[in-house]
């Protein structure tokens, strides 16, 4: 196979998502669909970030919604109390999340498996508690209002505008993830997932690489958090709660760990499914649970890798 064919193959997943994202709005009957689709894309960006940590480096985090919270409240607090432009707040939030991830990641990434899971869970809970208790800044459990995003001297209104912002951001995020996948750092991360001992014997600084993955994933999730708060116009500490963290993990695992398209599909399922199941009223959560279980039982590597394997005729 020549290099060109290899390149083409590498970007096929990205091209498919880009095409879907560009042409999907033609089938939207109402603004409500833009709204749901924008949410899908924002969460897909967050899941893409978490996938770098979970799917590439093989390190679990049950507290990544903490970074959603940091990103969201950076925008809310920055714009409300310091009159800072939202774009600057997004960047500041991303930088803060990266810094926090660096500080938190150093000690806890020494832990493995279940111990790491519990430690990251603790981090997420901690962020929620701080956001709830610092009511003077955050409005406490009731949350706070978030000013509108201003782009090109014009406030961004309407779900369709947000759809395109989220789409562009997610596609950039997915491209970055794809780039990483085919680079020395990406190979090192995937190697760490399979054997830390062998990785270190080949000159890979395992703790440094894990920390890098943790920081990058935090930055992705933080930007998604900022978007969520700007998009909703209001934010509460629930955004960093345990349930949100679990949702992010579900998106990554359901879509397919290590896959570039996976987080997008996972986010779509986790966001859209509850919306469509509302017709079932009180059975909604039960059916949702059954569907998630069924998907994992029959597509155990996650939706995208399992289907890809089936299409390629080498089911594992």
């Amino acid at each position: 196979m020549n290099v060109r064919a290899l390149m083409a193959q590498r970007y096929v997943g990205l091209t498919v998502i880009a095409a879907i994202v560009v042409f999907l709005p033609f089938f939207f009957p109402s603004a409500y669909y833009y709204r749901v689709a924008a949410l899908v894309l924002i969460f897909a960006l967050a899941a893409t970030g978490l996938n770098l940590l979970m799917g590439f480096a093989g390190q679990v985090s049950l507290g990544h919604a903490g970074f959603l919270g940091i990103g969201a409240y950076s925008v809310a607090i920055g714009a409300t109390y310091f009159a800072a432009p939202p774009l600057l707040c997004i960047l500041a939030g991303a930088a803060l999340s990266g810094l926090v991830a660096f500080g938190v990641g150093r000690p806890i990434l020494r832990l493995k498996g279940h111990y790491l899971a519990v430690a990251t869970l603790g981090f997420g809970v901690l962020v929620t508690i701080v956001l709830t208790n610092e009511a003077a800044w955050t409005g406490g459990p009731d949350g706070m209002a978030v000013p509108r995003l201003v782009l090109f001297a014009r406030p961004v209104r309407g779900a369709d505008a947000w759809y395109w912002i989220a789409a562009a951001s997610f596609l950039i995020g997915a491209t970055v993830a794809q780039n990483l996948s085919d680079s020395p750092t990406g190979r090192a991360l995937k190697a760490i997932q399979d054997s830390e001992v062998a990785s270190s014997m080949l000159g890979i600084d395992v703790s440094r690489q894990k920390l890098a993955a943790f920081v990058i994933s935090a930055v992705f999730v933080s930007v998604a958090g900022s978007y969520l708060s700007l998009f909703n116009g209001h934010i509460t500490p629930d955004i960093s709660g345990f349930f949100r963290s679990i949702e992010l993990v579900t998106m990554v695992v359901l879509g397919g760990m290590g896959s570039i398209v996976g987080p997008f599909v996972g986010a779509a399922v986790v966001v859209v499914l509850p919306q469509t199941l509302t017709v079932l009223h009180e059975y909604e959560d039960m059916v949702l649970g059954l569907i998630l279980m069924g998907l994992m039982i029959f597509l155990r590597q996650g939706i995208v890798p399992s289907l890809a394997a089936t299409l390629a005729g080498r089911r594992t």
């Binding site: 290099v3 085919d182 190697a191 080949l202």
Partner: protein, 262 residues
């Protein structure tokens, strides 16, 4: 010229001395084998030399530098590489990607260039892929390059680990039971592979139970028993040493014992 030197190494696990005052000096570009009965401390010695365990006492010097207590990745960057008795394969990757990871210490991009896929990353990927293909070819695995490592048979995985270690262009290569689980033909191939590695100036340290292989290719043999050095010498010296025969088959070892080491 001395490439690796271990002086008075001791290590204990829960009161049991796994290594007790073991010293050895390894010259460059030779095959230096370590043999001994099960539990003699061979793999423990490898683990200390490669930085997985810190010794209780003693020093390790690599190419003249004191590297005692260095983490494995720092040793790897100084030219030490190894394979594992229980395979440590990156099962989710293809064979080629496994070996590409072996090039890690020769890749110089930073994480930002990697995220943006700057041209330098592209160039380097190409070089890494070439070098990895060469390493695969050296162990006769070219055909398996694009296969998922998890689908390869055991013998191939053993060779894949050697290729991966070779790709890092080590000065010293530690092979931990490369012939274990391999059939006769595969083991004979191994002779040739190891010889060609040494011919390139690499020092090979070998832990192996297959005595035919050890006696065939070793320049020096270090015999361990119960964590202590029993004897060290050339193939002929070790083969004729009564203490070695005894260690392997007990006090009454006779013809059978001679067979086992000879």
């Amino acid at each position: 010229m001395t490439i690796l030197e271990a002086a008075h190494l001791s290590i204990a696990f829960g009161g049991v001395r796994a290594l007790d005052d073991v010293s050895l000096v390894v010259d460059a570009s030779v095959v230096f084998s370590i043999i001994g009965p099960n539990g003699a401390g061979k793999t423990t010695l490898f683990n200390v030399i490669s930085g997985l365990y810190a010794p209780l006492h003693g020093r390790v010097r690599l190419a003249g530098e004191d590297v005692t207590g260095f983490a494995p990745h720092r040793l790897a960057r100084r030219g030490l590489s190894r394979t594992f008795q229980n395979l440590q394969i990156f099962f989710r990757m293809t064979a080629l990607e496994n070996v590409m990871v072996g090039r890690h210490r020769h890749e110089s991009t930073d994480i930002l260039s990697d995220l943006l896929h700057l041209p330098v990353v592209h160039r380097q990927n190409r070089g890494t892929r070439e070098a990895a293909r060469d390493a695969l070819a050296r162990v006769g695995l070219s055909e398996a390059a694009n296969r998922q490592a998890g689908t390869l048979p055991y013998g191939a995985l053993k060779r894949l680990e050697i290729a991966r270690a070779l790709a890092s262009e080590p000065k010293v290569l530690l092979l931990d039971e490369p012939a274990a689980g391999c059939n006769l033909v595969e083991t004979q191939d191994l002779d040739g592979v190891i010889r060609s590695i040494v011919k390139d100036g690499v020092t090979v340290m070998l832990v192996e139970h297959d005595m035919r292989l050890v006696m065939n290719i070793s320049d020096r043999i270090h015999v361990l028993a119960n964590g202590r050095t029993l004897v060290e010498g050339t193939v002929a010296e070790v083969r004729s040493n009564a203490a070695v025969v005894e260690a392997y088959l007990g006090v009454h070892g006779t013809n059978e014992a001679a067979c086992a080491v000879g």
